[in-house]
Subunit: 451 residues, 2 copies
Amino acid sequence: MTHSDVLIIGAGLSGLHAAGLLIDAYDVRVLEARERPGGRALSHAFANGDTVDLGGQWVGPGQDRLYALIKALGARTYPLWDEGDHLVAFSGRLRRYRGTIPSLPLHVLLDLNRLLARFEAMAKQLDPARPWAHPKATEWDRQTVGEFMARTGFTARAREMFAIAIGAVYCAEPHELSLLHALFYARAGRSLEALISVTGGAQQDRVHGDMGGLARAMADGLGGAVIYGAPVQALCWSDEGVSAQTPAGTFTARRAILALPPNQALGIRFDPPVPPTRDALWRRMPAGACIKCVAQYDRPFWREAGLSGQSVGGPAPVRVTFDNTQAGREAGQLLGFIEGDEARIWSGRDPMERRAAVLDSFAAVFGDAARHPLDYADQDWTAEPYTRGCYAAIMGPGVWTSLGARLRDPIGPIHVAGTETARDGYGYFEGALEAAERAADEVRAALNPPK
Amino acid sequence: MTHSDVLIIGAGLSGLHAAGLLIDAYDVRVLEARERPGGRALSHAFANGDTVDLGGQWVGPGQDRLYALIKALGARTYPLWDEGDHLVAFSGRLRRYRGTIPSLPLHVLLDLNRLLARFEAMAKQLDPARPWAHPKATEWDRQTVGEFMARTGFTARAREMFAIAIGAVYCAEPHELSLLHALFYARAGRSLEALISVTGGAQQDRVHGDMGGLARAMADGLGGAVIYGAPVQALCWSDEGVSAQTPAGTFTARRAILALPPNQALGIRFDPPVPPTRDALWRRMPAGACIKCVAQYDRPFWREAGLSGQSVGGPAPVRVTFDNTQAGREAGQLLGFIEGDEARIWSGRDPMERRAAVLDSFAAVFGDAARHPLDYADQDWTAEPYTRGCYAAIMGPGVWTSLGARLRDPIGPIHVAGTETARDGYGYFEGALEAAERAADEVRAALNPPK
């Protein structure tokens, strides 16, 4: 039995940041289910020694906490390759374009712009700390993004492009998502445009090395406070504190921070049980579905054709690609995402079959050279038992307005962090850090009440 | 370490029935988390000794397995009180009516009939064993029942009445439900009309005694095979069999049947983990929200005013009531349901406050005498840690068509039962029995392969 002041459950970026904020003043333990820190930050080493992030990897304007963390760890950022022409697959043909919005027939483009503008105008009105409080929150929450698209978009092609953007941002299908949730998510990340943009947007910068390495550095900075292989099986709690049962022993503390995706909280037996509305909320926050796929080539051959490596709308399973080539390396990397329904189709399949399908997608857009990578890796986040989906939890119709107002409230001595409790940067590492700061503030206030 | 042929996880009606089917030929153990059998069948004793079901209680035409079970246990049924006038609250006034469809202004009634007819016509086309296989499955699955109502209903009042029916059947709001799921559920229970009807429908009959008592009789019939206080914390599995860890010990077997609501499967650590698509499906099958409320009076006083005790549309929180008076008893009972968003509002509240609100609802419909019951009981199923909602799991948009086709497949040596895997009577005890028979068939075939 190990006693401390604060137990942090989950050594993702949120748990690690909360631990770092609290560790000088309190005795802190971090319980991590896996044998590694980082959560949705995960490094992979290719055969040639290059590392690549199979989890989150980007940082962009407005993500001040994440830039500050990178800087504090002595790391540096560099921009994602964003030169040359992007490609949009449309009516069986590939067209080149620049900027965020693909080159499409004029009436389709105007319709798509109109859809985006309507969405942004609504999102801008929300207070990301209280999306349920907007006068139209109920109206927006009772419809899906699919309904919004069907009612607002005139052309099937604009709706299809909008759906691809939705897939890329939320890893979900438009009909799965509450419109209010989608608006909130965009607002909490500045705007939908910021979330789909490279330069000036959420895909602007990367770190030298990888995000998985940053997480390891954060964990190392905590000394021996992180206990690995310690999934919390039961969490007993009262006004006096908490007691966490794990295969690595029982840990008690005065306060706890639950720094997990909501779906993972369902695997913990709480004693006493959490309030029914919290349980119902967690049960209505499954994660999106995403398989991240990276192919490494001897060189970024698409640049020779004046291409950026960015494409949208290519043949399934990969609908969105990026040039993921690392700064200062010769090897070129193509990055593709399989999202939503496609991810569910491909997550059960044989890895070699999936690899072949992804390379087919790449080749359809960038030519046959894409079929012959030096190396390949993918990560199906829905298959990870301690994550079960990416990038973040989604909410279907009705969840925010019927259950969401209590999302961030402590449960007795148990505070909640994780990007899914963020008011700023929900679904991103930025949100993981923001939520950690709020939860650490709460714990400090609880342990040092004003006299 | 206890070894047997078959482990059944969950002693609800599905698990008990599967055990009964298998126990003569095999060594069977049933692991039950609670200290009682029955799952969503639950007896409560009033102070005067009368018992009442705070879980499922009805049986109706088409539920042949449930009638057969009742008969086999030597129990008898009697009809729910269905005489006198029903009441519908409408524009602040109470109107009397007979039959299933409330008396409403003619244009509203025609619109409501049209809504119901459209819904029934679609439901009738589905194969409840394979709802995802209908040619329009994707189209229907991508819309919510709320969308269907908004597009099909012309009058706000007809839509409101339809929404109350949806709440009463699914314990959910129209915008939470995939239209395909609602259609499937209705089809699997014969029709929406059957599900909302008393005489000739799913509320036609009750058992003398109570359903909770039937579950106890089923468990007693299994001798010592049921182990209580044994929530399964981990379930290891391979082609050779399963091993279940519980606080009551470790149990191994050649085959297992998971006879739980899907949301409860999420509390079990599977080793190896279940396939990602099954996990994703379970995470998208939260249960509806329902609080069942029963007030007992010295007599069924409403009958003296020529009323049936059935009402619809009264003031929140209770929107639907029934005369629950037991055959051969003097005491009268009013039964009311708090459903969907209202259940979420009331589930966290003080029990006395909830009691007062329910009696206010009753009094608004049946007069001040309803304020003074001899006894009162309610059951918030969302607060039950081993149930977490009623009557059954619901599916939001997209779930059936992207993930539902594998709902009933075994996972290695683990077969699945429970009403949520039923092809017939989904959400009802009938479905629990149907699913048990399918799972028991599968286990028998696996243990006795044809030579």
